[in-house]
């Protein structure tokens, strides 16, 4: 593996230049000794060349969208247009302080205002806050809004959120963080909400229902009206996890089909890059009467055409979830993407995402078990159950993990595996609309090859990956011999 940057340290080397101090002064006169750090900071000393080589070497160890297909279900690994990167680096965006007087940031406010509006239109919601910086924070924000709604109405007892067992882990985690209790609903045999089960748990203390739609199986929840009716009947609110919005653009407006609150993942649907785990952006849209609960500030337009930060609803607002206005720079990228695609373009995005997913599903369903016999939306869940049955010996038994790792050898990223939890050995495959049929075909062929390797050459799967920078890693060791910083490593080396 690549050496760490710490192993490249050489005392006295440096990778920066700074202007000479142009005023007189003495640190010791500025800061009393007792406030001063004892000893020198042990940071590495390396040259700019060292740094470039190091991080370029690391970069070459990654799989990434512009290297190859990345069918990671639920993550919408679509192409991130280069123009986003270029334009978001305008000094008029990069070098602007969040507390600047509003007359000096009219451009930023205009852009945010338009994005609020465009996302409102796309979702069919009354308004949208751009403050949450990730999907999970969007969930938290939306749930806080639900909380605020019930408090506002004096319904302090409404502290339960119902969600299906196919929900993403952040959903229940966000419920807890927002002070709710979670009721998990078992999905029915079609992978959808079981209306009877739902009826059984509905009660007056239900605050809302959280649904991903299309759900994490890639299936559109067609009972959504019924569910909404039931939830609304106890004055609960319908929350949509919009992680899968890439299936619905211009096809369904969630705000028009019974949802009251939803979050977007701009880093999925709206092409902002994932950055190896972030920054993303998780705006939240709500119906009209919930707007007053959204975080402060919102961006509004004066009659004279100027824009301003509006905190007039701060009495009712849930407050703030971010120091400033969220991930502005990601919001710029999403704005560009929406402006370039327009209404027809966005609809084509979803159409093509859906076609691509169904195409792969149809081509693979003879080789891998697919639980639900229904056209999928932008993604689908296959599983490794057929492969698992091939061998009884637990050492030989092929798991979805083996299939995933074998895909790495073939130059593809693996699908999302073991999620949703309700499908054993799940492989969630999301191709996105930016991939061509040609790419899908090479992936399909690789999967078919793996299906036959599973029969004829199972070691190729059990041992995979073979051709990656490292092979399977010992996760247990990573926990047991905790090594979360270079000093830990050095210590372990010494001890060994």
């Amino acid at each position: 593996m690549a050496k760490t940057i710490f192993e490249k340290h050489s005392q006295g080397r440096f990778g920066y230049t700074l202007p000479k101090l142009d005023v007189e002064g003495d640190l010791n006169l500025c800061i009393p000794a007792k406030f001063q750090r004892k000893g020198e900071l042990p940071l590495p000393e390396v040259s700019e060349l060292d740094v470039m080589r190091h991080f370029i070497e690391l970069s070459h160890l990654n799989h990434f969208i512009e290297k190859g297909f990345y069918p990671l279900g639920s993550c919408t690994m679509k192409y991130n247009p280069k123009i986003n990167e270029t334009l978001s680096r305008n000094p008029g965006f990069m070098d602007v302080h969040p507390m600047q007087p509003q007359c000096t940031v009219q451009g930023a406010l205009e852009l945010l205002y338009e994005l609020q509006n465009d996302l409102s239109e796309i979702s069919g919601m009354a308004d949208v806050t751009l403050q949450p910086v990730a999907g999970a924070q969007g969930e938290f924000t939306g749930l806080k809004v639900i909380h605020a709604y019930h408090k506002f109405n004096g319904n302090h007892h409404k502290r339960k959120i119902i969600l299906p067992d196919s929900a993403h882990g952040t959903n229940p985690a966000s419920c807890t963080l927002a002070g709710f209790e979670v009721i998990e609903l078992k999905s029915n045999e079609k992978g959808k909400v079981d209306i009877e089960e739902l009826k059984a748990v509905i009660s007056d203390d239900v605050a809302g229902f959280m649904l991903t739609n299309p759900n994490t199986l890639g299936l559109f929840e067609n009972q959504v009206e019924k569910i909404a009716e039931l939830i609304h009947s106890v004055d609960g609110l319908m929350y949509m996890d919009g992680a899968n919005l890439n299936a619905l653009l211009g096809i369904v407006q969630p705000g028009k089909i019974g949802f009251d609150v939803m979050h977007f993942n701009l880093h999925k649907t709206f092409s902002t890059p994932h950055g190896g785990g972030g920054p993303g952006s998780g705006p939240v849209g709500v119906r009209e009467d919930l707007v007053k609960f959204l975080p402060v500030p919102m961006v509004r337009k004066q009659p004279d055409g100027t824009f301003y930060l509006d905190c007039s609803h701060s009495e009712t607002s849930i407050g703030k979830v971010h120091s400033h206005y969220g991930n502005f720079s990601q919001n710029v990228r999403a704005w560009i993407y929406i402006k370039m695609l327009g209404a027809e373009g966005l609809r084509e995005v979803s159409r093509n995402a859906i076609i691509n997913a169904n195409y792969i599903m149809r081509k693979l369903d003879k080789y891998f078990h697919v639980q639900y016999d229904e056209h999928c939306m932008h993604e689908f869940v296959a599983d490794g159950s057929w492969q698992k049955k091939l061998y009884d010996d637990p050492d030989k038994q092929i798991k979805t993990l083996d299939i995933a790792k074998r895909l790495l050898d073939k130059g593809f990223h693996a699908p999302t595996v073991y999620f949703p939890l309700i499908i054993h050995e799940a492989m969630m495959i999301e191709p996105t609309e930016t991939e061509s049929k040609e790419t899908l075909d090479t992936f399909i062929n690789a999967m078919i090859e793996i299906a036959s390797e599973a029969k004829e050459n199972p070691e190729l799967l059990k041992g995979a990956p073979f051709s990656t920078p490292v092979r399977r890693l010992d996760d247990v060791r990573a926990v047991k011999m905790l090594d979360v910083k270079f000093q830990d490593y050095l210590k372990q080396q010494e001890e060994e």
Binding site: F14, G15, L18, G25, L27, L29, C30, I31, Q36, R37, L41, P44, D50, H54, S59, L61, N62, H63, L72, P91, F93, D95, H97, Q100, G107, A108, E121, A136, G169, T170, T176, V224, I251, I257, S271, H274, G275, G276, G277, P279, H322, S323, H324, F328, S329, I336, K339, M340, G342, G345, L346, V349, I354, H375, E433, L473, D474, R477, A478, Q487
Partner: protein, 447 residues
């Protein structure tokens, strides 16, 4: 359509392969009446050239710090960033990868996070750091939740000198889950330590103190250490400016249990306030209570060193409603920028930045302190930021100076100081720029 790969011909072939005659057949599961009739009401699509012109025109309506003489700080700082940083973070290898779930093809991301954790531990003197939080404010909120989890207590004490935005976010993160927030009294720009001591009791999960605090003053963390740790279980949470740690006490020196802060100043542009990122470190004994992602070193089946996500049983994708946090996507690329930045600057460069900022800030403070009608608000030691008592409301001063292409600082009115102006100085400020500010302030008072 841009960014959609397939052609009409390919689409047709695919629909055939799927076994449907038209796209709409794939939507059978969406009840007709739920579908949108017609098109979304959005602007006509713009081509790349048009969107470029539109963006340039919008951006030109913002006034930025390269074209203005700005003294704004309050947590988001305009420090020097070597050009090399952006050349790394723009690489699609880092930019377009997902969270490193498939470790074998994500070693680049995993290793930089490991290095980031190491650097944060070095800066803070802590034993374990995570892969970053959304921002400093959410990191503060999560630190309080962690303290509560770790101690099984529900009262937390916040210094009254905390950044108001931190306070806001803490409030929304804690109010619905029964955490009791108590604000400690303030005296002469810093925490009233005796006053704080009285608030700490056996119910106290943790005490959060920011240093330098919102007014720029250094808190006496050694004393605070004493009063906090006088309560056996209570945890001391320090919120710090990472740049300051190159001259100020390492939080380990005052026995902080958890250290968090806003990380933007480490190699990230201000970007109108986002992306920011929170760093998060603690003593090793708190590891299982930590929120967020953590990367650990390990070995592969061939005995080769590699990196993987570790201690995952804390996280939402495993523990769901019992997770230590709901965080999933974080601010990874901003942490990469910070990592590259810290490596480029190294120990000497970061030290120099901290020293220059300090000395320049003190130079400016002295000059402003001598101006008629202006006064340095507090006699406490400070780092690169300080509060000025102004003869007229700070908001008016700021407004007047904008006409001269100067942003004088941050208005402290919301803290109750209508005549309080918070001035930050980084190593980027030249003597000429500071002199210009002094002159402009002088003129404000005279005219």
């Amino acid at each position: 359509m841009p960014f959609i790969s397939n052609t009409d011909k390919e689409r047709k072939e695919m629909l055939e392969a799927i076994g449907v005659s038209r796209f709409e057949d794939l939507l059978v599961n969406i009840p007709e009446k739920l579908r949108l009739n017609g098109l979304l009401k959005l602007d006509e699509p713009l081509s790349e050239l048009e969107v470029t012109r539109r963006i340039n025109c919008i951006a030109a309506k913002n006034r930025h710090t390269e074209a203005m003489n700005s003294f704004m700080g309050a947590g988001v700082y305009d420090h020097f960033i070597p050009a090399a940083v952006d050349h790394i973070i723009i690489r699609p290898e880092f930019l377009t990868a997902y969270t490193p779930y498939q470790a074998e093809v994500s070693q680049g991301t995993l290793q930089f996070i490991y290095e980031f954790q190491t650097l944060i531990c070095e800066l803070t003197g802590m034993e374990i750091a995570n892969a970053g939080m959304y921002d400093g404010a959410t990191a503060a909120a999560e630190a309080l939740l962690m303290a509560s989890r770790a101690t099984r207590k529900e009262k937390v004490i916040l210094a009254g000198t905390l950044h108001p935005r931190f306070y806001d976010v803490i409030r929304s993160y804690t109010e619905d889950i029964g955490l009791e927030l108590v604000i400690a009294p303030v005296k002469d720009g810093v925490t009233d330590i005796d006053g704080m001591a009285k608030l700490i009791d056996t119910d106290t999960a943790g005490v959060l103190v920011q240093t330098p605090n919102y007014f720029g003053c250094l808190e006496d963390m050694h004393k605070i250490d004493e009063i906090v740790h006088a309560q056996k279980k209570a945890l001391l949470i320090a919120a710090v400016d990472p740049i300051s740690l190159n001259v100020l006490n390492s939080p380990a020196e005052y026995n902080a249990d958890i250290v968090i802060g806003e990380g933007q100043a480490l190699g990230n542009k201000m970007n109108y306030g986002g992306p920011l990122f929170g760093f998060f470190a603690s003593s090793i004994k708190l590891q299982r209570s930590m929120p967020g992602r953590i990367v650990g070193g390990t070995l592969d089946v061939d005995g080769k060193r590699g990196y993987a996500l570790t201690l995952q049983t804390r996280e939402q994708h495993i523990r769901r409603e019992k997770a230590t946090s709901n965080i999933c996507s974080n601010q990874s690329l901003a942490c990469l920028a910070a990592t590259v930045y810290m490596c480029l600057m190294g120990r000497k460069g970061l030290r120099e930045i901290a020293e220059q900022s300090t000395i320049k800030a003190h130079f400016l403070a002295e000059k402003i302190g001598k101006l008629n009608g202006f006064e340095i608000a507090y006699s406490k030691p400070f780092f690169k930021e300080f509060t000025v008592k102004t003869p007229i409301p700070a908001s008016e001063i700021i407004e007047k100076l904008i006409a001269k292409d100067i942003i004088a600082g941050v208005d402290l009115a919301e803290t109750g100081m209508e005549n309080g102006l918070l001035i930050a100085v980084t190593e980027k400020k030249t003597k000429a720029q500071m002199d210009e500010l002094v002159k402009a302030l002088e003129e404000v008072n005279n005219g």
